[in-house]
Subunit: 483 residues, 2 copies
């Protein structure tokens, strides 16, 4: 028989062994559960990281990113890596409009809702839900050279993704076109007008026109750059009156936004024989039905309204004529030497994530369409009770992408004030604490104003509150008048 | 006495225990050695990642980045995340000029060296050595909005870093200036000329000038944009001849590159009373001595020549007059709606890494100066044996940043062909298999040509080979003539 001491020792040995084995199990579980060999779009699993999950130089950046992402900000804001650093040495919450406080939990009393800008924040939740697929690590030495994979300034892989996306969505024929990248489609406005204008030695000046209500940047850019080769000639009806039959059509450059910003109507060029620039920023299935692929000579697109990455400043043109594409490229080269290659890397992740989910249950267009139709339906229900304001009418239409009749989901409401005395519609809504963009900006009547629906859900919820208050006040007043 | 069996069992228990303890120790060692709680510039250690190293959504991106970074490409190339994907589904090596093969190990026979572009690849090794500090994870939802921390388009934290850097380096007085970000300093050339030109209603036209030899983009941009408010008026001496006393000085905008591209000379404006734009792209201690902080009204800088990130397209202007800054901002807004916020995030990491190492043994300027002085010394030694070509003379000078007399380290060699028959110097060198940039581009004589020294070490080593062959051939010929 053994003494008490050895028994206790043996018991202790067992406790130690089982503790140690348990610790082993915990370490193993921690190791494999917390650092799974995630499916990589780039690499085969066998090559994945070299050493079963051990990271070296990228770990610090990955931790920093996950740490700021973990901040909740009460669901009304978020922390960014490059946010303004507070007294605690860390970036703080950046709150949605009308929310405040260190964790964005406080509703700003009596807040004026901002429905002015076309900030595409409605897609932010999509990317939060697809965090793994869309994240990208930029190393300090990533692609420092001016030259990238096309020998110049454009990523060949990104160009391939863009072509695949147009083909899969069916919104544009890209096969027989050149693709030119730019720092947002903004940069392409003047670049294309330059490229389509007569040569500086010809002595002639192109007239640049658009049909009311049009996107104001066409006018403001052409006026700002004030080139000798082209000039802003006003809206198409003004231009037709002023020019009579005197101007040769070859010297007219027409901007056509389709679907239109602000009113979501699909448009074709109206000046026959002109050079048309089709701005298809919103020609994606979350905003509009796609009747057929567009196949114009010059077309404009932007990630701002496709994926919601407005801040990345990435747009592209599809151009049929090689000489025109060359002139645009030369302009972009002289202006900015191409668009940021950091952004091109990020956009590659974003495009790959979009492509991987097309027509599946995580389809970005289905997500966006759901969000936008819900908004349009709710807004329409409130406004239909009013006789003071009205919205544009958009019928449900067959969409080739979804292969069904789809409900309307415009990016903007184009609001008309119906009362004679409400001649400044944006001012009427401002008094109801809603900031909108007056139709004057679109060269249209001030009786119209634009309400943005593509901002965050918070922005929309508050907008709906204010609009409801506005319509309720109208009905109450009408009720007391009729009494 | 115990039986053999229990003893064996107890021995087994011990072995198991020690194995288990060893395994624990290994797990612990692995955990802490492979995933150390790295010093984070952003976060305190206690908050570092939540769970001691466990990553979730950022892990895949971090692994992809480390995997491509691990490819050696024989030291003559590298793999990028967005490289062209080969048949194996992975991006391949992108080789330095004159190297080829799947792993860049093959020297291209009889290769022509490219010393043309100002591609700042000499700093790539610095960032490879500072991988952890400079890496950044961009989440899919990172800062999608048009608006950033200044309420418009510029990161407040990045602006703070830029001000701290100018103060610490002592190359510019930034305190009393506005900072305007742009898509490379390229975009600022025309933006500043626009901002300094008379109003479009004034009817007058500004003359834009520069002193030969000047950076050609000043001319090419002004000619391309062809605005009614300003025009390219040639080099300062041509302009002085043509204008006599007739042009009011207020309508002259003078570009002054200091140190100059191509010849590295520090310059001041020469047209008294003009609006001067000081292009300080190269006014950093790796390229030049810093005699004193520059304090001009309008100054230009770019990360391309500071950190070597040419592809990020990030530059900034320091502007004293608020009205001028406002006009530049308006131009940038109309042209591109600011510069990529993805790039601003990356630049924040880069600037923080630079700032953290100033005056230490990992100082980027000390690193860059070492690389560039070595190149200049080697090139000088070979060319000094020649009577056919010569280099500009740059004396050692006192530098306030290094607080010592420093050896010259120009970005470019400004080569002169001395023989009367060698009137096209770039052609002379091209015949020796060296691509350079003819002085004609700088509005100078074709007797001069620019050799870039800021490209990769491979590019320089090959350049030195070719130049040595060229000089040896001259000496051999001279030797046989004198025999």
């Amino acid at each position: 028989m053994e003494s008490a001491f050895p028994t206790a020792a043996r018991l202790g040995l067992h406790v130690l062994l089982y503790s140690s084995l348990l610790l082993n199990a915990l370490f193993l579980a921690h190791h494999f559960l917390s650092a799974p060999p995630a499916p990589s779009p780039l690499l085969s699993e066998a090559d994945n990281g070299g050493g079963g999950g051990a990271l070296s130089w990228a770990l610090r950046a990955a931790r920093d990113a996950e740490s700021v992402a973990a901040a909740g900000c009460s669901g009304h804001g978020r922390v960014f890596l490059d946010g303004i650093v507070g007294q605690d040495g860390r970036p703080g919450c950046e709150c949605n409009t009308c929310f405040e406080g260190p964790d964005c939990s406080v509703r700003t009393p009596d807040c004026t809702v901002d429905a002015d800008s076309g900030d595409p924040m409605f897609l932010e939740p999509y990317w939060m839900q697809h965090a793994e697929a869309s994240a990208v690590v930029v190393s300090g030495w990533h692609r420092m050279s001016y030259r990238t994979t096309d020998g110049l300034f454009q990523s060949v892989e990104l160009e391939r993704c863009i072509r695949r996306l147009h083909a899969a969505v069916g919104n544009a024929v890209a096969d027989d076109k050149q693709i030119v990248f730019a720092t947002g489609s903004m940069q392409l406005i003047n670049a294309l007008v330059y490229a389509l204008s007569p040569d500086s030695n010809s002595g002639s000046t192109a007239s640049v026109v658009a049909t009311t209500p049009y996107y104001p940047a066409y006018r403001t850019q052409i006026v700002l750059f004030d080139s000798r080769e082209y000039r802003w000639a006003g809206n198409t009806s003004m231009w037709a009156k002023a020019s009579g039959n005197s101007t040769t059509k070859e010297d007219v450059i027409e901007f056509v936004t389709s679907p239109n910003n602000p009113d979501a109507v699909l448009h074709q060029p109206v000046v026959g024989g002109s050079s048309a620039i089709l701005d298809h920023a919103y020609f994606w299935p979350h905003f509009t039905h796609i009747p057929a692929p567009s196949n114009e000579d010059v077309m404009l697109f932007t990630t701002s309204k496709l994926s919601g990455h407005a801040s990345s400043r990435f747009g592209w043109a599809l151009i049929r004529d090689e000489k025109v594409a060359k002139r645009v490229n030369n302009y972009i080269l002289q202006n900015t030497m191409g668009t940021s290659r950091d952004t091109q890397l990020r956009m590659l992740s974003v495009f790959k994530a979009i492509l991987a989910n097309l027509h599946g249950k995580e389809d970005i267009f289905a997500f966006g369409h759901d969000v936008m139709t819900a908004k349009w339906r709710k807004l329409g229900a409130v406004v239909s009770r009013s006789r003071r304001i009205s919205l544009q009418n958009i019928p449900p239409q067959y969409c080739t992408y979804f292969d069904k009749i789809r409900e309307p989901s415009p990016a903007y409401a184009w609001v008309k004030c119906e009362r004679e005395e409400d001649s400044d519609c944006s001012d009427v809504l401002l008094k109801a604490k809603i900031i909108t963009r007056s139709g004057v900006w679109n060269d249209a009547s001030s009786r119209y104003t634009r309400i943005s629906l593509i901002k965050s859900q918070d922005d929309f919820d508050l907008l709906l509150e204010r609009i409801t208050e506005f319509v309720d006040a109208e009905l109450t007043a009408a009720g007391s008048n009729s009494m």
